[in-house]
Symmetry: D2
Subunit: 370 residues, 4 copies
């Protein structure tokens, strides 16, 4: 299977470079009959689109998605869906320097070492632009999930920028779209605004932590032992550019808990089991519990910065590099819709895999309780 | 592809339950001609084996591995290698209670909900016993890597137990095998000993963080964008029982860094590029840099504890549960050899995938520098 | 994915050599709750078992299958099912000569050239004994299909031995189990008996054509364009030892037909579309029509014969070879149950894949007619 | 894995419908550094292009291929290569009737039954136009193979049209490009010309047999037992529209041979083993012998014909259908370049898989002889 693909039944294959004519995704395995058009996908892409405020790259890309196949008269046909996004704002001159110098912290050097050739313009295949294709594919997944899991809500937001963590006691999900950082903590948004402006002016960048929560996921999605729902979520999130860590539920904090503290006690509710807490992040043994799926991932700071860093050229000469281009001071911001899209793709794939092996209607569990 | 399989060329499929007649792994895609016998594999299994000290389960399992295929006259033939481990110590009575009650924090309930049937004896397929098969498979991977990457060293160790972190300034890798916790910090080992004895006596358990480091990995292993080396490592580690988080290099701490701090500066060394630091954990853009691969994963506390927890029965009755059996007070300890094994499998798979697509000798990069 | 595996959701991975301690299959993706025990599987294996009459190898292998995992209290759990068959009649001395000489028409030479090592005892991995594992896996598939496609009937039989074709006008399916050749043409059985006795005495062997028919398959199984039902059947059959050709429906005869002749005209029947003929073999565009699935495959003659043939040794010396062992004079006979098993595996996989992507009950089509 | 994909390392995913805006293929796993441009691919596409003579459809499609990714400065980068072919000659009115009536022998009815929706224009996804994407992908495979297997020659040609077989004693490979039927038998070309003109005038169509031969393939490509080279070739060819049978080497004729006749005797040649004959078609035990790979496939007659056939409508009404459009009277003709392309893709994939698992240079066998 292509290393540029993921998924078992609902599969996504992305292709394209930052400064080639276009990039996109082929999405296959979508159920037939799903209402789908370019406008629906565009809505998701617009959330990720750069240049919307001064905290993201000023590169102007309309990121207009075209559906080239697999949709007929407004509905999916079950055939592969080709999603194409043309690259329009290709100021290749911005990147001339990096054709020869390797940006520290960037894939420039490893692509060169591995392949002996690379499209250095704008990072080529390793550019965060590739995530536009993921968001488009995620839009297809959401459209299919709309009828399969009607209660599903996927919500991504930033919970940390640099050293500044959002305060969960102040969380108000309605705030997420009211600030440029997709954070439910209006107070944090204020702090981050000042902090990031400062960094941006000094030509620096900073990391972030993004949380993605899916509610309305029924119990029973997932599979032992290498196709666990959390394994697939971890892979999906870690595959996003600049991500360096992924955790589910309590995550790394679970290491600090005792078994007594960590066990989410179970109670019999009206509609099935209920839990006293959700350290598990909605997944036990790789299979969803019916609680919220909670996942977080850490995004490293953009490596393309104005601060001079020491590096080498292809010829091995010791030099300094300053990356002028138009870069995101905190790439974590635009990772929010990408994380949501990846969650959607993984969930749809597991819904299809589940009804493939187990059968029955989605959300119907085989083992009755009560 | 089976959800009980992983790998692209070097593939591992595990099977078996805790209290069935046997469990094991089919390993395929191993290069031919690799020197291999049961004794070599047994060495790795013995490190994971329970009952070796009072900090792991007192269940006595010899975990004797048998090679049923794929090896002829002491060398791999390139055919599937079936590794079989018989289950011998099956005191099913220990588990009678859990046939009906769901342990909080355990896969009992989700397996039941998904499948409507489960081998409840000892956790069945969700038992940590499944990891014995991983360790055996990892032994095969290591045997193959011995000639492919002769400088490779994979070292796993515990860096945190509950709230107690090991102190990196005291790290001495020679200490790892001298304490029951696989930690390079002798001081931490002492602290943990008292801490864990206390917990064990009170019938409680605790989480841990394990670090796995691979040195001697050449630049160039990995692939964009869903087959990244770190993506595959993250999936491999997250698939281990009880793991709730995975990070590479600086991991979640990368979120706190600025781009200036995070960029590992590059210098021209005698044998190629060298780096001022390793925040990247040896991987840039999903491809190895030639630095140490550094990965950490968080293991939650064992959910089978003597502390009474509230739960429900299959009939929906509200009850308490106390899991008597013989369980690891800190399952993170035995996760150390498992993490190493998973790292070995992922690395071998990427070595084979690399020479498949790129060709050339392993460790030879296509893009010359200097 | 392992080259020793096939299937998308219902996957089969076989392992083992002819003269190692055992061989078997790991079957994954089986729906949970399927009634399954060793006796059921043994019934299928007994049909393939050698030594039952003088027209198959006299090697005495009980081919006793053991279920090591994935079945609990008589029902599948949805976990991997390990099927193990011990090798008992291992007269390795029979094969001593072939450790050095390559049998013409046999995989001896190519395995040696590719791997540089091979378990030459009895053909090792390339032995037809591997097909025992397929038959066991097929037994699992049939058990699952029993409830999914209750009208399904898979029937394999021989339609040609050497130059002697069976006569379709004499076909009586009740005859199949009454002769040693699994043929529905009693007259052919008589002819073949004399013909094969002659060949066997002279130490020669002969090829055959096997037909496998599946009835009771609903319309709608299959997928474009590389996962076609006929593509998967072709791959499944071609992967059986000694198979050199596969055809669906009219097969190679379709090349001789005009479009007018070949078009199976469609009529509206009581329960849906009916067809005037079945040149398509029950598959159009890779998707089942609801008619009988008809497939044929050609089996070459056994290459292990008593007739001396010229060959070379590993050292390159020109020699003659006579293979004494105990071999099938017409390996096509025992390929009949193997072909049935492969058909069962492919059909189950497509049933699961179909309900995965499309949903609904099996046999329910999305597009209504009439 | 997508059912619209094939390949293990060199993977091809095609997408698109006959009358949508475009169709194409994403090709991944191509080695980096391969010289590649649109002109090279266009050469292969032009051979398949319709409307070149009166024996193929008169539909005028330039089939101009665009490379949207994965190629930089004239060389492959190792990234996914998106090949796009716009659909220009979309006279949808030609197909209005078939939106409601199912053509006998066509995928119209099964797509409808399976998906409940279909792009009926020109056959949509089931159109033979999909094979243009295969030819483009095959062009990439050939470009990569040029340096990997410099002696490789892949030659496809027609050996039978309707009841008229070509005469092997008259074969002259130089003739292939001199007649509109890609046949090496000039005499057959003459016969077929008259025969097909007649059929075309009467609005009928006819089947054909195509042979594809690959020479210059080293010994050792392939793998047991479900990833056999012949298994993958069989699947590749069977996946082509209208193909109903595939055979390797002697194929179905092998059923008529005795073991004595079928065994290709082995001799020690100057550069390795040589064979007295090639009944095996260059493959033993699923692994190439170094002889010519010989494969044949049967193509059924086009189902879109002017001859009226009885069928039903979606409403279940009994009607007649006459397909006016512009169709190939013998679709086998244009299947020749498609079969070559599929062979190229399968061979490249196995070359990469081989050097992945086995290592070494291509064409270098591990087991020495002589």
């Amino acid at each position: 299977m292509s290393t540029n693909s993921f998924g078992r039944i609902f599969t996504v294959t992305t292709w394209g470079e930052s400064h080639g004519p276009a990039l996109g995704a082929v999405v296959d395995g979508c159920p037939p009959g799903v209402a789908l058009d370019e406008t629906m996908l565009q809505g998701w892409l617009d959330r990720r689109r750069p240049g919307q405020n001064r905290y993201t790259t000023q590169r102007q890309e309309p990121d207009r998605v075209e559906i080239l196949s697999g949709v007929f008269e407004g509905r999916s046909t079950g055939m592969p869906i080709q999603l194409l996004i043309r690259n329009t704002d290709q100021r290749s001159k911005d990147y001339s320097e990096i054709s020869d110098r390797f940006r520290p912290g960037h894939a420039d050097i490893t692509y060169w070492q591995k392949y002996g050739i690379r499209d250095y313009r704008g990072g080529g295949r390793s550019s965060a632009r590739e995530t536009a294709a993921r968001v488009a594919a995620g839009g297809v997944a959401r459209a299919a999930l709309a009828s399969l899991l009607p209660d599903l809500q996927i919500t991504g937001y930033m919970v940390q920028m640099g050293p500044h963590k959002a305060d969960r006691s102040r969380f108000d999900m309605a705030e997420i779209t009211r600030n440029p950082f997709w954070t439910p903590d209006a107070g944090a948004a204020e702090t981050w605004e000042g902090y990031l402006s400062q960094l941006r002016k000094s030509g620096n960048s900073v990391g972030a932590v993004v949380e993605v929560v899916a509610s309305g996921v029924p119990a029973g999605l997932g599979a032992p032992v290498y196709g666990k729902l959390d394994t697939d979520i971890a892979a999906a999130m870690m595959s996003i550019n600049a991500v360096k860590g992924v955790e589910i539920g309590a995550g790394f904090d679970a290491a600090m808990l005792t078994g007594e503290e960590n066990a989410d006690e179970i109670f019999m509710g009206r509609d099935g089991p209920e839990y006293s807490s959700n350290h598990a992040g909605g997944i036990l043994g790789g299979i969803s519990t019916g609680q919220q799926i909670v996942c977080r991932f850490a995004v490293k700071p953009t490596s393309s910065i104005l601060k001079p860093r020491r590096t080498i050229t292809r010829a091995g000469a010791q030099v300094e590099i300053v990356t002028r281009g138009r870069h995101d001071p905190c790439v974590g911001i635009r990772a929010v819709p990408v994380g949501e899209a990846m969650m959607a793709c993984v969930l749809l794939d597991h819904v299809l895999l589940h009804r493939g092996q187990i059968g029955g209607n989605v959300g119907e569990t085989r083992g009755r309780i009560g």
